[in-house]
């Protein structure tokens, strides 16, 4: 059972375009929603994160939109660049005596010149 559903699986975007990755969840105990960026041969690295009491968070070209009632959140990458080509994972966290993070299945983004 996938607690965090992520789509699309892969995405090709033209340089300068907007990349959009969507995630949905069911567990209302999640209290923190990070996005990770992973380059080939590297570990995932935190990109941006949001709490459910905020509807939007922007950091540079990266924006998270959060819809608590719909249990959905999305990552928007504005002015996408070839250097943004990577795999992106949404995630959701809850505390169960430890930081339990559930990851989406990932989106492989390719930004073409």
């Amino acid at each position: 059972q996938q607690q965090v559903k992520q789509s699309p699986q892969s995405l090709i975007v033209q340089k300068g375009g907007i990349s959009i990755i969507n995630c949905a969840y069911e567990n209302t105990a999640f209290d923190y929603f990070p996005w990770y960026q992973q380059f080939p041969g590297k570990g995932p690295a935190l990109l941006i994160a949001i709490r459910p009491d905020v509807s939007e968070k922007k950091e540079g070209r990266f924006t998270i939109s959060f819809n608590k009632s719909a249990k959905q959140f999305s990552l928007h990458i504005m002015d996408s660049q070839p250097g943004d080509s990577a795999t992106y994972f949404c995630a959701a966290r809850e505390w169960e005596g430890y930081q339990k993070v559930t990851f989406g299945t990932g989106t492989k983004l390719q930004v073409i010149p």
Binding site: Y32, G43, A45, A49, Y98
Partner: protein, 114 residues
């Protein structure tokens, strides 16, 4: 990168042999985790530790054991490797105390069981 070192980075082993992967941190973080990453599954938690000698199972713990004898080291052992354990393994660390604490990941270990 946060101070996390995984070793080895690559390993090929035969079915039925024991394998130990090591994660070493220099951040003095309380929590340490082992994940496996497989296509179509994202990252799945194998085991985690919330202190020295304090460990517990994650969602895919069958066939794996862990040990943490020092704050900085977290070992993952495959007692008898199987082909289904071919994967990329990531160690992660985190610490509670600040809002929005995130997990820092190591570079990964690519394990192939033949």
């Amino acid at each position: 990168d946060a101070g996390i070192t995984q070793s080895p980075r690559h390993k090929v082993t035969e079915t039925g042999t024991p394998v130990t992967l090591r994660c070493h941190q220099t951040e003095n973080h309380r929590y340490m985790y082992w994940y496996r990453q497989d296509p179509g599954h994202g990252l799945r938690l194998i085991h985690y530790s919330y202190g020295v000698k304090d460990t517990d199972k994650g969602e895919v713990s069958d066939g794996y054991s862990v040990s943490r004898s020092k704050t900085e080291d977290f070992l993952l052992t495959l007692e008898s490797a199987t082909s289904s354990q071919t994967s990329v393994y990531f160690c992660a660390i985190s610490d509670r105390g600040t809002a929005g604490t995130e997990a820092f990941f190591g570079q990964g270990t690519r394990l192939t069981v033949v």
